[in-house]
Symmetry: C2
Subunit: 202 residues, 2 copies
Amino acid sequence: MHVVVPFDGREPKTRLSPVLDIEERREFARAMLEDVASTIESVGFEPTILATSDVDCEWPVVVDERTLDAAVNDRLAEIDGPVAIVMADLALATPDALGRLFAAGGDVVLAPGRGGGTNAIVARHPDFRVDYHDASITDHREIAHDIGAEMAEVDSFRLASDVDDPADLAEVLLHGEGRAAAWLREHGFELASEAGRVSIER
Amino acid sequence: MHVVVPFDGREPKTRLSPVLDIEERREFARAMLEDVASTIESVGFEPTILATSDVDCEWPVVVDERTLDAAVNDRLAEIDGPVAIVMADLALATPDALGRLFAAGGDVVLAPGRGGGTNAIVARHPDFRVDYHDASITDHREIAHDIGAEMAEVDSFRLASDVDDPADLAEVLLHGEGRAAAWLREHGFELASEAGRVSIER
C-alpha cells in the first residue's frame, strides 16, 4: 500500500500564530511530520511526502503546489492499488492507531477528525476521490456511498486529534510521545489549568 | 463487572447554557444517559446510575449527593470485583467502543477524554480511586502507577468525545446515532460551516 502524507512546509499551522511565530510553526510542523512518517515506517510502510514545496527529509517527496484536494486526487488517480492518506499533523498517532487504520477492512476506510474532518483514509476503490472542505467526513461518507464502496470507520482518539489550534497543543503534551511533544517542552510549553479545563502556558 | 454511570440530573451541562435552557439541558442530558445506558446493556452489562438526585428510569439508581469523586470512590470501595465507570455524556459511544473498553486487559483501563479528562475507567485493582479534577487522565495514570496496577488505555474518539460545550454538539450531529442526536435534530439543531470549521446552528 502507498501511504501519502500531505504537508505544507511554507505557511503551516497558521491557526497556531497566537502562540508560535512562523519559524516556530515550521519547526513544529516538521516535528509532527517526522513523528507521523516514522510511525508509518514502524508499522511496515514507506511514506511519501506530498508537499507544497520541496522538503529536505529522508522520505520520498512529491511536490505539488496545487490545492490539497487537487494534489491528493492526482495521486489517487495515478497510483494503482490501495492508497492511504495520512495527515501530517497527527502528533498523537501511535503504531497501534495507524496499524488499526491500515488493517481495517473495507473499500474505503475513514478516520474521522474532531470537528468534522477526515484525518486519515485508506482507499482501495479506484473511483474514490477526496473533498477536504468543511465537514469532509460527511462528504467522504457520501462519496464512498455514491461509488458503491464498502465503507468502514476507525474509532481512534489519536487519529482524531489533528493539531490546528493552541488548545490542541495540550493534547500533544498530555498524550504525545514523539518529537512534537519534545519540541513543545523544549520551547517552554507546559500544561496549565484554568477554570477546571486544561490549557497550555509558556 | 459492575458498570456505574455517574449522572447529574439537577443542573446538568451548565456549559451548554448559551444554546439550551435548563429544561432543555435536563432533557438532552437524559437522552445522552439513555444512549449510554442502553449501549452498555447492548454489550451485556447492566448499568447502575449513580445520581445526584433520584432519576426515574429503567435501570437501578443509587443516589449520592456528594461530589463526583466522593460518590464514585465510595462505590469503588464498596463493590467487590471489577468496576467500570462510564460518563453519562458519551453521546457518541457505540457497542464497539464500549466493548473494546470492557474487553481491554489491565488492572486499570483508562479511556482519555478530550482536554485531559477521563471519560471511562475499568478498575480491577481494589486500591484504585478516582480524582476527576483538572487533567484527570494524568492523575489517574499516576494513581494506577502508585498502587502498582498494570495500566492500559483505550484509544477511542467516541469515548473521548464527552459533550460539554456547544461545539461538542456538532460531533453529536456528525457521529451520533441515538436519542441525543435525534433530540438535537428534533429541537432544530443542524450543522453549519463557518470559516471552514463545522459548528451548529438552530
